[in-house]
Subunit: 256 residues, 2 copies
C-alpha cells in the first residue's frame, strides 16, 4: 500500500529575518518535527511585516499545499501584523476573542497590566482554533489548514505540542546519510546518478560536499525514501559507492 504524500509550506514572517538581524532556526525545527508525522516541507518563504505580502503568500501556499505553518508577527507591538493578515487572507472577521482574552486575563491577573497593546494578542479570526502557548501564554491559532505560531524559537517549539495531534500525515520519508572522508563529489557523481535512476523514483539521492580547512574534506551522500526496503538497499549501495573509492564510509547520525 502506498501512502499519500502530505506536503507543507513554511512562511517565516518578519523584517528582522530579511535584514539579516535574526538567523532563522524555525524552518529546521519544523522540518524535524513534521518529518516523523509524515509531512514534508515542500517550500518555505520569508516575507516582511507587510500585510499585502503576508496575505498574498498565505493564499498561494494554503491552496498549493496540505498545510501551512507561519511563524512570527503575533506579539503585542505595531509591527505584529500576522493575525490580521491571515484573517484577511481567509476573508473572515477578526477581533479580540473571549477565549483568548480569558487566557491573557489569567496570565496578567486581570489587572492594569492587560493593556490595549497586550489585548492585540487576543485578536483571533472567526472560526480559528487556538494553539496553546505553554511558554508565554499568548496563543497561536489554526485557521483551516494554516497554523499561526510565534516567531521566538522557544515559544514556537512550545506551541508544537498543541499542533502535532491535529496533523493528518501521510508517508513518512526517512533518510540515511553516508559520509565519505576524502571523497570528491565529481568522482562519484556518475555512479550516484545511476543509483537514483535505477530506483525508478523510489529513492531520492542528494550529495553534499563538506570542507574542514585546512585539508579535510569529503562528501555526505543522502538517500531519502518512504519505502523502507528501498532505503535499506540504497544505504548499502551508498556504502559500496564509497568503498569503491578505497575509503571506509561512516553512517552519519543525522537522518534528515
Amino acid at each position: 500500500m502506498t501512502q499519500r504524500q502530505v506536503k507543507a509550506a513554511v512562511l517565516l514572517i518578519g523584517d528582522e529575518l530579511l535584514s539579516g538581524r535574526t538567523q532563522d532556526v524555525n524552518l529546521q525545527t519544523l522540518a524535524k518535527f513534521l518529518a516523523p508525522l509524515g509531512v514534508q516541507i515542500a517550500e518555505a518563504r520569508v516575507v516582511p511585516d507587510i500585510p499585502a505580502e503576508i496575505i498574498g503568500a498565505v493564499n498561494v501556499l494554503r491552496i498549493k499545499y496540505d498545510y501551512v505553518f507561519t511563524t512570527g508577527g503575533i506579539g503585542p507591538t505595531h509591527d505584529d501584523k500576522t493575525a490580521d493578515a491571515v484573517a484577511a487572507a481567509f476573508g473572515v472577521h477578526i477581533d479580540v476573542r473571549a477565549d483568548a482574552r480569558a487566557i491573557l486575563e489569567a496570565h496578567y491577573k486581570g489587572g492594569a497590566n492587560l493593556n490595549e497593546s497586550r489585548l492585540r494578542m487576543a485578536r483571533i479570526p472567526d472560526g480559528a482554533i487556538l494553539i496553546a502557548n505553554p511558554v508565554s501564554r499568548a496563543p497561536g491559532f489554526q485557521l483551516g489548514n494554516v497554523f499561526v505560531m510565534a516567531g521566538v524559537p522557544s515559544i514556537m517549539r512550545g506551541m508544537l505540542e498543541d499542533v502535532g495531534h491535529r496533523i493528518e500525515g501521510g508517508a513518512v520519508v526517512r533518510a540515511v546519510t553516508v559520509r565519505g572522508r576524502g571523497v570528491r563529489e565529481g568522482d562519484i557523481a556518475a555512479s550516484l546518478a545511476a543509483l537514483e535512476a535505477a530506483t525508478n523514483g523510489a529513492v531520492t539521492f542528494g550529495s553534499y560536499p563538506w570542507f574542514a580547512p585546512p585539508d579535510s574534506f569529503g562528501v555526505h551522500l543522502v538517500a531519502r525514501s518512504s519505502d523502507v526496503e528501498a532505503l535499506a538497499k540504497a544505504s548499502d549501495d551508498l556504502l559500496a559507492l564509497i568503498r569503491v573509492r578505497g575509503v571506509e564510509p561512516e553512517l552519519a547520525e543525522d537522518d534528515s
Copy 2:
C-alpha cells in the same frame, strides 16, 4: 534628494534546506553584504531540487524585484539542477561553455579528472557572465538580474567578491538597536507605535523580545531608515522610551 529603493529576492535551492538537514546561513550573509550597497532583501524563498519549482520561482522573483540571488544546485552531481533551470526560466540555450571549461581545465590540469560530471559545472546559459569562484574555481554566473551562486557558505561568500561591483544600489537603509533589559514589549508597544506614526514613513520600528532563562529577559527595539537625520532622532527617541521605564538602555552593536 531621495534615492530610489532597490529591492532583491533570495532564492535558496536544495532539498537539504527543506528536510532540516542543513541550516541555511546564506540568507543572513547576503542581507549583511547587500545592505551597505543599498539593496534590501524584500523576500526569500526556499525550493527543492525540482526544475519546475526553481523555474517558477526565478520567473516570479526576477520580474518583481531589481535583483535575484540564488544559492545552491550548481555542483557536479545529478541533484544540481539550478543552471539548467535558470536557463529554462529565461528561455535561453545552455551547454558546456568554453570560458567556464577553460577554468575547470586549468584547475583539474586538463587530465582525466575533468570527467563528464565535473564538466556539468561548465554548463552556462547563453548570455550569462561568469562569477569567479576563488575557493573551488567552478564558476557561478549572472544572467540578467539573476546571480547564480554556490550553496556551500564559504564558496558563496567567495563569489560575492565578484558580485558587489556589478550591483547598482539605491538608498542605504541603516539600523540602530536599543536594548532594554527587563523591559516587556507590552509596556512600550503603544509608545513605539506612536513613534513610528510620527515619522510619516521615514522610519520603520521593530520590537524583538529576548529571553535568557531562567530569569533574564528584555526587548530589542530597532529603527530602520535611509534618512540619517530621522534615524538619529529615532535612536534618541528609543533611548528615551526605555529610560521612561526606569531602565538604562544599551545601544547594541548589531545594526541590521
